[in-house]
C-alpha cells in the first residue's frame, strides 16, 4: 500500500510538471500581454520592450520558464499581472471558498438525491417511479445548467422572492447556485445507480440474502448498494473536481465571487501567473482526487487489491 501510494505520488509530480510546461508554452503563444495594449500600441518598439522588462517579460522564454519553475518548487505561484501587487496563492485561496462550498453542497445533494432516485427506480423496475427517474435523468443531462439557473433565478428569486436573485451575502445566496449545479449530478448518479443496482439485484448472492430472510433495507444497504457503488465512485471523482473548482457560468449568473470566473477572466487579460497558478491548482486537485478514488475502491470492494503485498 505504501509503495503503491509513493509510486502514484511520484507519477503525480511528473504529470504536474508536464502540465505546467505545456500550459506555460501554450499560454505564451496567446497574442497580447497582460497590459492595456491599446494604450501601449503607439509606443516605439524599444519603449514597449522596456515596459515589459519591468515585469520580466523581455527575457527569453526558456529563462522565464526556468524562473517560474524555480519559484513553483518553493510553492510560490508568483505575483498576478492584473491584480497588481497580489500573490496568486492569496488570490486563489480567497476565491476557492465560495466555489468549494457550492461544489461540496452540490455533490452531497446530487449524490443523496441521485442515489435515492436510482435505488427506487431499480427496485420498482418498469414502474412509474422508474420512468420518472429516467425522465429526470435525461432532462438533467440535456438541459444546460445555465438555462436551469436562469429559470431558478427568474422564478424563485425575482417572481416569488423566496431566495436572493444573486450576490454573495448570506447562506441563502448559496442555495440556488447549489441546486443549479447539482442537477447534472443527480441525473448522472441516478442513472448509474439504477443500472448498477439492476445488475447487482440479478446476482446469485442477492437470492442468497433474500433466502436468509434478511430485511429489504439490509439487502439494499449491506449487499446491493455497496456493490453498485464502484462505478459511481469512479464518476464521482471527476464530477467532484469540476464542481469544487468552480463553474464559470453558474458563478457569473449568481454573482458568486468564485474561482471559475477568475480563471476565465485571467485568460482574457493574459494574466500569465494567474493562468498558471489556477491550472496547476486544478490539475493537482484532479490527480489527487483520482488517487483518493482509487484508494476508495479498496475500501468499498475488498476484492480490489491496490498492491500485491498480500499475495
Amino acid at each position: 500500500m505504501k509503495k503503491y501510494v509513493s509510486i502514484r505520488l511520484f507519477n503525480i509530480i511528473v504529470t504536474l510538471l508536464i502540465i505546467a510546461t505545456a500550459t506555460f508554452f501554450l499560454m505564451k503563444q496567446l497574442p497580447g500581454s497582460p497590459f492595456n495594449e491599446e494604450k501601449l500600441a503607439d509606443l516605439s518598439e524599444e519603449a514597449r520592450q522596456e515596459f515589459y522588462a519591468k515585469y520580466g517579460l523581455d527575457e527569453p522564454l526558456l529563462t522565464q520558464y526556468g524562473i517560474y519553475l524555480q519559484k513553483l518548487m518553493t510553492g510560490d505561484l508568483g505575483e498576478s499581472f492584473y491584480y497588481k501587487g497580489q500573490s496568486v496563492n492569496g488570490i486563489i485561496s480567497d476565491r476557492i471558498g465560495p466555489s468549494a462550498l457550492l461544489g461540496t453542497q452540490a455533490v452531497l445533494l446530487g449524490l443523496t438525491i441521485g442515489l435515492i432516485l436510482g435505488v427506487i427506480a431499480a427496485f420498482r423496475h418498469n414502474s412509474i417511479w422508474d420512468f420518472t427517474t429516467m425522465l429526470v435523468a435525461v432532462l438533467g443531462v440535456s438541459i444546460p445548467n445555465f438555462v436551469f439557473a436562469a429559470l431558478l433565478q427568474y422564478f424563485v428569486g425575482l417572481k416569488w422572492g423566496i431566495l436572493p436573485v444573486a450576490f454573495w451575502e448570506s447562506y441563502q445566496s448559496s442555495i440556488l447556485p447549489t441546486i443549479s449545479l447539482s442537477l447534472i449530478v443527480i441525473a448522472l448518479i441516478a442513472r448509474f445507480a439504477r443500472n448498477e443496482m439492476l445488475e447487482v439485484l440479478q446476482q446469485d448472492y442477492m437470492v442468497t440474502a433474500r433466502a436468509k430472510g434478511l430485511s429489504t433495507t439490509s439487502i439494499i444497504f449491506k449487499h446491493a448498494l455497496r456493490n453498485a457503488l464502484i462505478p459511481i465512485v469512479t464518476i464521482l471523482g471527476p464530477i467532484a473536481v469540476s464542481l469544487l473548482t468552480g463553474s464559470l457560468v453558474i458563478e457569473n449568473i449568481f454573482g458568486v465571487p468564485g474561482i471559475g470566473s477568475l480563471f476565465v477572466d485571467s485568460i482574457k487579460v493574459n494574466d500569465y501567473s494567474t493562468i498558471m497558478g489556477i491550472t496547476i491548482f486544478y490539475s493537482a486537485f484532479f490527480v489527487l482526487t483520482m488517487l483518493v478514488v482509487d484508494l476508495l475502491y479498496g475500501v468499498i470492494d475488498p476484492r480490489i487489491r491496490l498492491a500485491d503485498e498480500k499475495r
Partner: protein
C-alpha cells in the same frame, strides 16, 4: 478499519463545509429577500444607492491601475486639484483657484483651506508633488505615467530615467501653493489635474503601507467625497460619505454599494427586484424598455472606425479607399445593428468633445464624410482601372459580437453598393491588436477612447513616425497641422487646425472610415438623480448624486 476510514472522510467533508462557508460578508443578518417595494422604500429612507459593475476590481493603486472600473472608484474616494463637474468642465476642488501666466506655461495653484485626508491630516502641496513624481519615477510608474510626463517641463527626462527629480518643474512654494511649469501651452491641463494619476498621495501613509498600499480599504488614505468601508475585488465596494471632505455638505447620498455582477441578465433581474438602482441594457433588451421613463443612453468619447492600411498595395489607392469609405451609411449600423445607444459617426472626434468658442468640436465641424453609394461605385471603378484589377479585400475585426456584427454589416453593404465580396477575419481582441502591429491587415475595425477632453487625444495618434498600427499614414500636411496646434496658444486657431487636420485625414487622404461613437443604454430608477457620467477618463462621479 474500513468503517473508520469512511467515517473520518465524512467528518472531513462536513468540516470542510463549515470552513468554506465563512466567506460571506459580515452583514449576513440583513434580510436578503428581494421584494421590490420593500427594498426601494428602505433605500430612500437612508439615502443609499446600489449599483453594479461588470468586472472584478483588480487594484485601487492610483499609480498602477489601468482599468476603467478602478478609475471610477478612485474618482469618488479621491480628489485632484480640479474635479470635473456635471458638464465635464473642470471646477476647483482641492485647489481654490489657479493663476495661469500670460504665456500659458506656468500654473500657480492655491489650495483650499481645511482640506484633509480621511485620517485628519491636512492635504498639502507637497502631497501633490510627491504623488506626481512617484507616478513618473521609472521604479514606481504605471502605464499612465505619460499623462504627466508629456506635459510637465523636465518630466519626460525624469520618467525615462535620464533626468533628475530637481529638474521637474513642480515647485512647492508653501503648504498651500503649488507651481507647475508646462512644456507647451495646454488648454486642457486643468482637466488633466482631475484625472486619477494627478491625485495627491500622503508620503508617510504610502511608505507605511509599503507593498500593501491600495490592496485593502484601510490601505488607502482618502481625500474625496466618499471613503470605502468595504473592498473585495470579486464582490465589490461600499462607499460611505467622507466626514473629513471639505464639501461634505453638498454630498447627499450616505452610502453607495457597488457590486460585481458579470452577467447582464442577472443585473437586469436584480434591477427588477429593486436591488439595483441602475443597470446597463444589452441591445436585445433595448426595444422592450425603450419607452420606459427609466430608460436613457450615454455616449462615450470612444470612436469606432475602419482603419485602412496604406502599406497594402490594393488599399494604397485613394479612389479604392474613398469608395470603401462612402459605400455604407453608419446610420443603418446605429439603428439596425447596434441599437444600444451608440451614435452613427461621420467624423473621428466624438460628439460633446470640446471645440472652438464654447461650441463642441462636432457642432463646429459638422459631418466630414457623407455616404453616397452612387459616388462610391464610381470611385471604385476608377480605382479598379488604376490598379488594373479588382483587389481582393479582407476585413479584420475582433471576435466579440458587436465587432463581428459590424463586420457583417460592412460586408453586406459593400456587396450591395459596390458589388464586391470582401472576406472577414476575426481574431480575439489582443490578436487583432497584434495583427495590426505586425502589419498583417488590409482594413480593420478599430477604436480609440479619449484620455482627455481635447481633439489632440485622437489627432496625436496619426502623427509621424508612420506605424503599421496606424495604417502607415504619413502626411506632411497633417503633421504640420497637428504639430502646429500643439504649439499654438490661441484657442480658436488651434481648434481650426484640428478641424482642418480631421478633414485632411478623412476626406482628402481617406485613411479611416468612421463607424460609430460607442454608447450604452441603461435603466435608472426615477428617484435617483445626478449620477454623473463622464465620457472619458474616470467615468463615474457620485458626488453630485441625490436620492428623492
Amino acid at each position: 478499519m474500513n468503517k473508520r476510514f469512511v467515517k473520518s472522510l465524512t467528518l472531513l467533508l462536513v468540516l470542510g463545509l463549515f470552513l468554506t462557508g465563512c466567506n460571506f460578508s459580515g452583514n449576513s443578518s440583513e434580510k436578503t429577500e428581494g421584494n421590490a417595494t420593500d427594498a426601494s422604500s428602505e433605500k430612500s429612507g437612508d439615502k443609499t444607492i446600489s449599483l453594479s459593475v461588470e468586472n472584478d476590481i483588480p487594484d485601487l493603486n492610483q499609480v498602477t491601475t489601468t482599468d476603467s472600473i478602478s478609475f471610477s472608484i478612485l474618482n469618488n474616494v479621491m480628489e485632484g486639484l480640479y474635479r470635473l463637474d456635471k458638464d465635464n468642465k473642470p471646477e476647483p476642488a482641492m485647489a481654490k483657484d489657479v493663476d495661469i501666466s500670460e504665456d500659458k506655461l506656468t500654473y500657480t495653484f492655491t489650495l483650499r483651506d481645511g482640506i484633509k485626508w480621511s485620517n485628519g491630516d491636512p492635504v498639502t502641496a507637497e502631497d501633490f508633488k510627491y504623488s506626481w513624481l512617484r507616478a513618473m519615477h521609472p521604479d514606481t510608474a504605471g502605464a499612465y505615467y505619460n499623462i504627466l510626463s508629456d506635459y510637465i517641463k523636465g518630466a519626460a527626462a525624469f520618467a525615462d530615467g535620464t533626468g533628475k527629480a530637481e529638474d521637474v518643474a513642480i515647485e512647492v512654494k508653501d503648504d498651500k501653493t503649488l507651481v507647475v511649469e508646462l512644456e507647451k501651452p495646454t488648454p486642457y491641463f486643468l482637466g488633466l489635474t482631475a484625472f486619477v494619476t494627478y491625485f495627491p498621495l500622503n508620503k508617510k501613509f504610502v511608505e507605511e503601507q509599503g507593498d500593501n498600499f491600495g490592496l485593502a480599504k484601510d490601505a488607502i488614505l482618502y481625500n474625496g467625497p466618499y471613503v470605502l468601508t468595504d473592498y473585495d475585488q470579486a464582490k465589490g465596494v461600499t462607499f460611505e460619505k467622507n466626514k473629513e471632505y471639505w464639501d461634505n455638505d453638498n454630498v447627499d447620498v450616505e452610502k453607495i454599494d457597488l457590486k460585481v455582477i458579470k452577467e447582464q441578465g442577472t443585473a437586469l433581474n436584480l434591477y427588477e427586484a429593486g436591488e439595483l438602482d441602475r443597470v446597463n441594457l444589452a441591445s436585445s433588451d433595448v426595444n422592450e424598455y425603450k419607452d420606459s421613463p427609466e430608460f436613457g443612453t450615454n455616449v462615450n468619447f470612444r470612436s469606432y472606425y475602419i482603419q485602412f492600411n496604406l502599406g497594402n498595395e490594393s488599399i494604397n489607392n485613394d479612389n479604392i479607399r474613398k469608395a470603401l469609405q462612402l459605400a455604407y451609411d453608419p446610420k443603418v449600423l446605429e439603428e439596425v445593428i447596434l441599437n444600444n445607444g451608440s451614435e452613427a459617426a461621420y467624423g473621428l472626434i466624438a460628439p460633446g468633445m470640446t471645440g472652438p468658442n464654447d461650441q463642441s468640436f462636432r457642432e463646429a465641424q459638422g459631418p466630414v464624410i457623407k455616404p453616397d453609394a452612387a459616388k462610391a461605385k464610381e470611385l471604385w471603378e476608377k480605382g479598379v482601372e488604376e490598379l488594373g484589377k479588382a483587389p481582393e479585400l479582407e476585413l479584420l475585426t475582433a471576435d466579440d459580437s458587436v465587432s463581428k456584427d459590424t463586420g457583417t454589416f460592412l460586408q453586406s453593404e459593400y456587396k450591395k453598393n459596390l458589388g464586391i465580396e470582401i472576406s472577414l477575419v476575426t481574431k480575439p481582441y489582443s490578436g487583432r491588436l497584434q495583427a495590426m502591429r505586425d502589419d498583417k491587415f488590409q482594413m480593420v475595425v478599430s477604436a480609440w477612447g479619449a484620455d482627455y477632453n481635447d481633439p489632440m487625444t485622437y489627432m496625436n495618434l496619426w502623427v509621424t513616425p508612420e506605424r503599421a498600427f496606424r495604417g502607415h499614414y504619413a502626411s506632411d500636411k497633417y503633421d504640420a497641422l497637428v504639430n502646429g496646434a500643439r504649439d499654438e496658444a490661441d484657442e480658436t486657431k488651434r481648434m481650426e487646425m484640428f478641424m482642418e487636420a480631421e478633414r485632411v485625414m478623412l476626406e482628402e487622404d481617406a485613411i479611416l472610415g468612421p463607424l460609430y461613437y460607442q454608447g450604452m443604454a441603461y435603466l435608472q430608477k426615477e428617484n435617483v438623480k445626478n449620477l454623473v457620467f463622464h465620457p472619458y477618463g474616470a467615468s463615474w462621479d457620485y458626488k453630485y448624486a441625490t436620492v428623492e
